[in-house]
Amino acid sequence: MAAAVAVRRRPLPRHFSRPDFVAGIRDMTPPLIGIFPFGVVCGVAAQSVGLSAVEAVGMAMIVFSGAAQIVATQLIAAQAPVAVIVLTCFVVGLRFLMYSAAMAPHLKPLPARWRHVLAFVLTDQAFAAAIRRFRTAAQPGEGASYFLGTGAVLWAAWLASNLAGYFVGNVIPAAWSLEFIVPLCFLALLVPALDDGPTRVAALAAAVAVVVLDPLPMRLSLVCAGVVGIVAGLAAGRRGGSSQRGGG
């Protein structure tokens, strides 16, 4: 009986690594300078279409995705049918399916509640940072704790920036171009990922595809370019005979 209780209490400490959780928070703090202006824009948008403060914060808390919030806000203002709003936001977030698949092998050894919590904080930024940490982690709990740290700090900053935008408005001067920090952060995580020929082919193909497909609606160019890049990478890996290195 006592053993059963002990086992039930153990899962979190067994997988939770405090140093990795703190490292996740620390690594995600500088990029917040760029994420903050984006959250402010979402807060301003929610305020301008007449959402109440509670609704605006509720949306930021529940949806936790800048692109989906902007789209939802615009469609709510246009009085679009609920089904249209929900489906459009789903299409805008199609790349999350890819992130989810890429994260799956790393989260498989963990208890289900870790998977359920970490899925909620699976954003572009947390994915890009955490997938890198998982590759060097000795145990899945280390990568998962790091992931949890990045997700927690992003979620808190997201709420704060949405609130600031709602109540204070656009106080950050546009001339500072602080939003450019977000692509710079992704660039910093992208460059080390280009560690062999096939990944470089994948990146190059995705770069060309995302520019060519830019006219597509609902940000479909993003996820389509991702698929083009993955297919190009697979083809390059097969031709170059380096596919044995894959699977990670």
């Binding site: 171009s177 692509p183 990944t199 520019v211």
Partner: protein, 114 residues
């Protein structure tokens, strides 16, 4: 659409579908064995998706307005940041170098080109 209840229903529905997209394959491949082709393909997700996010943010001056030349300060800044990322592998140094390069390029263009 009218009323607070309908608005909350929309917010919750958007959030729920958003969460289900994020959970989808994490939950599926926790139960099922992953096909080998999918496992090989996943290696390319970070390189392909991060490129797909970064490139439009750099080469478009405004939505639909492509400018991948030297007169676009964001192109200059991204190249400088990529060089720093390649050499030092530091996220903070890359962001700092990119922002300084962006501000310098914006200033230089204002001063000499226009």
């Amino acid at each position: 659409m009218s009323g607070t209840a309908a608005l909350w229903a929309t917010i919750v529905a958007v959030g729920a579908l958003n969460y289900l997209s994020r959970l989808s394959f994490i939950a599926l491949f926790a139960r099922l064995e992953m096909p080998p082709l999918v496992a090989r393909a996943l290696r390319f997700v970070p390189a392909a998706m991060l490129t797909a996010i970064v490139v439009p943010a750099v080469v478009f001056r405004a939505p639909g307005m492509l400018d991948a030349g030297w007169t676009n300060p964001k192109v200059v800044a991204a190249l400088a940041a990529a060089a720093v990322a390649w050499r030092w592998r530091s996220v903070t140094a890359t962001m700092a170098a990119g922002m300084v390069a962006l501000w310098l390029a914006q200033w230089a263009l204002r001063t000499w080109v226009i």
